[in-house]
């Protein structure tokens, strides 16, 4: 696996168990993506633990400037991941918040060391599947043409750029066509979409046009924020392209 050098994190041994952090958007809007993520991990012989006390990484408040409120919510998560197992997250954005921003958020707090320890165990799902579990998928689906939307935080905070595409390329009947502006933000940005709806609409409009130009039947992404924005715009514009989370797509193709 080649990397662009942004985060070459040290290899870890294949663990017996992992924690799954579902994220609040997956919880409410894309639970099937969360379930698919857990099933992909289980299919590799890993035991998956889903702590029922978990809720959210705190990012929405953090990015809005409400750091105390973000800290309160982030702190509440620490109790639910007590073991040494990796924490796998089906979202580059939430994984980025936990692994990159928690250390700053908890700076000077009594539980800083604990937060850093938890942060160091966070993996984005595709990163974990490729780097740690070294999965090999066998495609069982019909031929289809798809494209990939790279989430900003997955690529620029977690350094996950090649992994999702490497997974999709393992699927023999899947033709992956890259977007012309793959790295460009879709305009979600959490509260940005609400604070600046017109700019956000223009951004997602460009993204949708880019997707349409590929002629793909589906756009696959690893982040539910982007997915909600892009597939919402596709659907709102009556475009015959489906937005789907990579966990769900992989599950459908391999043992669905």
């Amino acid at each position: 696996m080649s990397h662009d050098g942004t985060t070459n994190r040290p290899d870890i041994e294949r663990p017996e168990s992992v924690y799954f952090f579902g994220t609040c958007l997956v919880d409410l809007f894309y639970p099937e993506a969360g379930m698919a993520g857990m099933e992909l991990l289980k299919a590799q012989g890993v035991r998956v633990v889903f702590p029922q006390g978990q809720s959210c990484c705190g990012q929405p408040a953090y990015n809005s400037g409400y750091r105390e409120e973000a800290l309160k919510v982030a702190r509440a998560q620490l109790d639910y991941f007590p073991g040494d197992w990796p924490i796998v997250v089906p979202s580059g954005s939430c994984a980025g918040m936990m692994s990159k921003h928690w250390p700053d958020l908890f700076k000077g707090e009594p539980d800083e060391a604990r937060a850093r320890q938890v942060a160091s165990r966070v993996w984005e799902l595709t990163q974990f599947l490729v780097q740690v579990l070294k999965v090999k998928f066998e495609d069982q689906g019909p031929p289809v043409k798809i494209t990939w939307h790279a989430s900003c935080h997955a690529q620029r905070e977690m350094g996950v750029t090649d992994e999702p595409k490497a997974l999709l390329r393992q699927l023999a009947n899947v033709e992956l066509v890259e977007l012309q502006r793959e790295k460009e933000c879709c305009g979600f940005g959490g509260t940005f979409a609400v604070r600046h709806p017109e700019i956000s609409a223009a951004m997602v409009g460009d993204k949708v046009a880019d997707i349409e130009n590929t002629g793909a039947k589906a756009v696959v992404s690893g982040d539910c924020g982007c997915l909600m924005n892009i597939s919402g715009a596709l659907e709102g514009g009556k475009k015959p392209v489906r937005g789907v989370h990579i966990a769900q797509f992989l599950k459908e193709r391999t043992h669905g």
């Binding site: 379930m35 633990v49 702590p51 409400y66 973000a70 309160k72 620029r156 460009d206 709102g236």
Partner: protein, 474 residues
Amino acid sequence: MGETSINFAKASSAALQDQQLRGNFRRAMDGLMSKRAVQFADTAEWNGVRTLGASVRLRALSKLPELLEKLEANCTKNGIQVHWASTTDEANAIVLSIMQRVNAKLVVKGKSMVSEEMHLNAFLEKHGIESLESDLGEYIVQLDEAMPSHIIMPAIHMNTKQIAHLFKQKIKEAEYTEDVAQLTDLARRVLRKKFATADVGISGVNMAVAETGTLCLVENEGNGRMSTTVPPVHIAVMGLEKVVEKLEDVPPVISLLTRSATAQPITTYVNMISSPRKEGEKDGPNEIHLVILDNGRSGIYADEELRNTLRCIRCGACMNHCPVYTKVGGHAYQAPYPGPIGSILMPQVEGLEKRGELPHACTMCNACVEICPVKIPIVEIMGRLRSEAVHPGDAVRGAGSHASKAEAMVWKGWSMTYASPLAYQFATALLAKLGNAAPASLPLLKEWTNVRAKPRFANRTLHALAREKGIPDV
């Protein structure tokens, strides 16, 4: 928000309606991005020169007071007269007093962002002095009575046709043409006359070298050299962060600057100005003045995190790569510095009460951080400013000025719910059951559904599904 606050949302909305403008920006920025990518295609070289550039800037900032003193001493030794201005008003007054002493009526200007920050042209005009921009882009913008929309390419928002119409309308001897060479030639003819008769030349400074007292100026058109060489008096204006320690610091920064800005390996002119005309020399001004402007920078310098803002070498790459800037263009920011760097610099210089909206003009996608040649943590500073905007504090002027009781209550309620497993599960179960009944006309939902289908809550949350499927909890 205070009455003086600037409305980015309103201005960007207008920009989004302008299809011509959107097309101009999309094309221009796409071109710049791909050209820049070619310049830095070698990742190892990019990482190396970027680390070097960042370290040059960091080292300079780490001993800023000392280097500024050294710069003043060495400039003075070289015969360059140094002036200090803590505000833009003071800087303008210094420039005016020099002009009045030499009885100046006409000034030619090279490109200078600090003079934009000072609104120098308007100020001089008020005092009966004609100030002519000599950089082609700045000249176009000045003719159009507009602000620059980009720090490197001031007229990037206009296409050739628009410029052709502008020239025809504003320049007496102009005949309508869309031929770029002819348009450029026309501007050159106008400017040449002015260079020859100007009393004073004004320029910016890309870097000032402390150990030698040298002012570096990078440009492509030769107008910078004309402005600083032909008139008998040269006034250079710079922000106090522009100092570097040694002469050897200059090449890596210039290399990063030109490649990041316009994707040029080097520009046509690199001027190194070290003294006024000496005896026996054939050209050069008789007097050189350097005006060093603070305008809030020493306050930025005082905060270790915010200080990183001052690393900026003004290449504009962050705006070229910003998906928000690319959509709305520079004028929407209504600031001399638009885009990501402007969104962190302007609130620090002018206060959050006036500029507190700008840190929100960002999706936090980090494209600017990825591209910044001196590794400014732009998005981190953006987050810090968002937090300062809602919390009273003394690091940035106007801290707490955007605190809205309603918004604070929403986040308080959010944190109470999300920090308690019981409350969270109750709330999410309720949303899964009833959330979809919310009408699309609800205030926040309405903005969303203008172009998007309504997000659909799943019937059962992931928590519920995991429980049902027997996924272990511990």
